[in-house]
Symmetry: none
Subunit: 402 residues, 2 copies
Amino acid sequence: MEIQELIKKQAIETDSKIVLLVMDGLGGLPVGPQFKTELEMAKKPNMDKLAMEGALGLADPVARGITPGSGPGHLGLFGYDPIKFLIGRGVLEALGIDFPLKIGDVAIRLNLCTVDGQGLVTDRRAGRISTELNAKLCEKIKARVKISGAEYFLEPVREHRAALVFRAKGLGDKIADSDPQVVGKEPLLMVGEDEASRKTVRLVDEFLAQAKPILKEEKPANMILFRGFAAFQEYPQFNDIYKLKACAIAQYPMYRGLARLVGMEVLEVGAEMDDLFSVLKENWSKYNFFFVHIKKTDSAGEDGDWARKVEVIQAVDKQIPKAVKLKPEVLVITGDHSTPSRLKAHSWHPVPVLLWSKNIRPDLAREFGERSCSQGGLGRFKMKYLMGLAMANALKLEKFGA
Amino acid sequence: MEIQELIKKQAIETDSKIVLLVMDGLGGLPVGPQFKTELEMAKKPNMDKLAMEGALGLADPVARGITPGSGPGHLGLFGYDPIKFLIGRGVLEALGIDFPLKIGDVAIRLNLCTVDGQGLVTDRRAGRISTELNAKLCEKIKARVKISGAEYFLEPVREHRAALVFRAKGLGDKIADSDPQVVGKEPLLMVGEDEASRKTVRLVDEFLAQAKPILKEEKPANMILFRGFAAFQEYPQFNDIYKLKACAIAQYPMYRGLARLVGMEVLEVGAEMDDLFSVLKENWSKYNFFFVHIKKTDSAGEDGDWARKVEVIQAVDKQIPKAVKLKPEVLVITGDHSTPSRLKAHSWHPVPVLLWSKNIRPDLAREFGERSCSQGGLGRFKMKYLMGLAMANALKLEKFGA
């Protein structure tokens, strides 16, 4: 039995509260003369105090050696097996702009691109046009393209990327990208692998036939490539599984989307670090599970900016007392994956986990860091087990068997 | 999804190089006044330096508590689930003499034995006759036994043991041994569980009917027992799964055979320790995965010779700079199982693993040994996950999910 199914059987409803504080891309690699990771270097007296009182561990979001995207990373945090519940790229793109997908929708990533007089692709990203131009082109297309037999939604994302969603009955997503991946070739014909997918292809072909003349005279974005076809499927709902009333406090659309995907209520929040914790406080009485998401650790890591990642962690640390003051039964501080600034990318390295609760069995750790986590009392585990640990420490799981 | 299938999906072809250095039976148990294992006792400054820069862990070849044979041990190292991909004993015997098995062949272990006038087994191993006498008897049999409808191959192995291979279409291997396991009984009748296996039994019965009169007057080996019927099946090929160009540098036939089984190219190599590393250097530009196998650690362990095992490890350590000088992206030093000299046998104890790469997250280890490995940053894992870790650190795995 999957751990999540087991937890579902044992879960009971209680008033105890869990805070899951996710610093995106938290895990790092050591650099510099002191050879410390970003987390090890950061001055974070509040987290270190929690580390002393709580317990540490290292978690693999998917499996040892596997580098997770944001989708699998968060599914793991929410207790879903990220291999079993894969999120298609088109769906993730739509989630990333807060698009309210419905079950059965097929979402597609759309690249505005450049083709020459012969229709051969000369730039797969149309020179990364501005998001403003992208938005104008999307408006033009939406004003004139009419598809019968289906609703469609077209939303600009960033630079040359947009999200296209078709809504109709019986649509499939077994369709390969039309992106030829190299320049000098025509866009590929789209072919559906089954009847439902062929129905989607007919809609996309119709969309393209109408959009093509609209874009023809545009420069440089005069054509469209379709990628990452993905039907939006129903996910087992977080609140049903865990008998929780969960909310998400996240500033970036993708993470709001991922939380919405599993049925969390997504709260409005301002753009500052302070705002996350104000919203947490304001909503304290209304929920008993709080997913708080901090993006800037990951952004700094992706930019290869070790010092900035250290600063973000220090800034988060200053907010910690606000969460502690609310007296959650369980406070978890972790990440969805590692983004070492040395690699400027997501990585496979396991993620530091701090679990603080008065019911935890404490370990010998004195501070929160990758190396102390590797010696921690929680040991090494797959991230999908974290929810069970949080639930157990919040006394929300019944005894298994007599 | 099995980890190997997942890795196959994420694997990309790159030029980066991985060296997997296997000291057979590496893991040990502490003895003597200093109470150190062979690995802990050995003076091995080169490995200890790699341990400081890299990360350590402990791996279970099959599962906790399970003592692996050489087949499962190596399958685990190569990333195959050794429970799913079991290698039959007959096949292992044939691999062990470098016999070029083809898919569909049925391989059988054959014991020359002694029977009395009534046909009752009096010695299941014919007093462990010399390998020379064994070879002579095999020659005699081969010269006179003719089987119609199938090719057969008979090769002496060691002492009383030989390998018998039948090659024909539609042969099965669901046949119990004819070895009665105790003296004073007749060899058991062989019965095939299905039609294909009955076809094999008819061939073996025919073989025995012709061989019996040839052996009748021999002393002490005047009869044959058949054991470990095993059809040679196709294995998923290593290079296909990992998108690697792999070679094996191994001096002992069984390990060459195991490497060939998964499709590695098996290189010619002399009998000395130096030869292994010369061949590594000579072939450096031709491959990007190098399986280097050292047998003598295991032999010393099996002989219960603690001091000799220490010496072998020290001798390997002197060679390490040759491998480091080639600048592999990933260098793994480990074993296929433990062979503590105190037990004079393979054991279930987990195997020390050292993974060195510039992309590794270092741990606190200062030296390579069982106890430092138990505190290492790689943690405790099933050996089948090692290939994913090596691939990840060589930047040969794409991100999973968006």
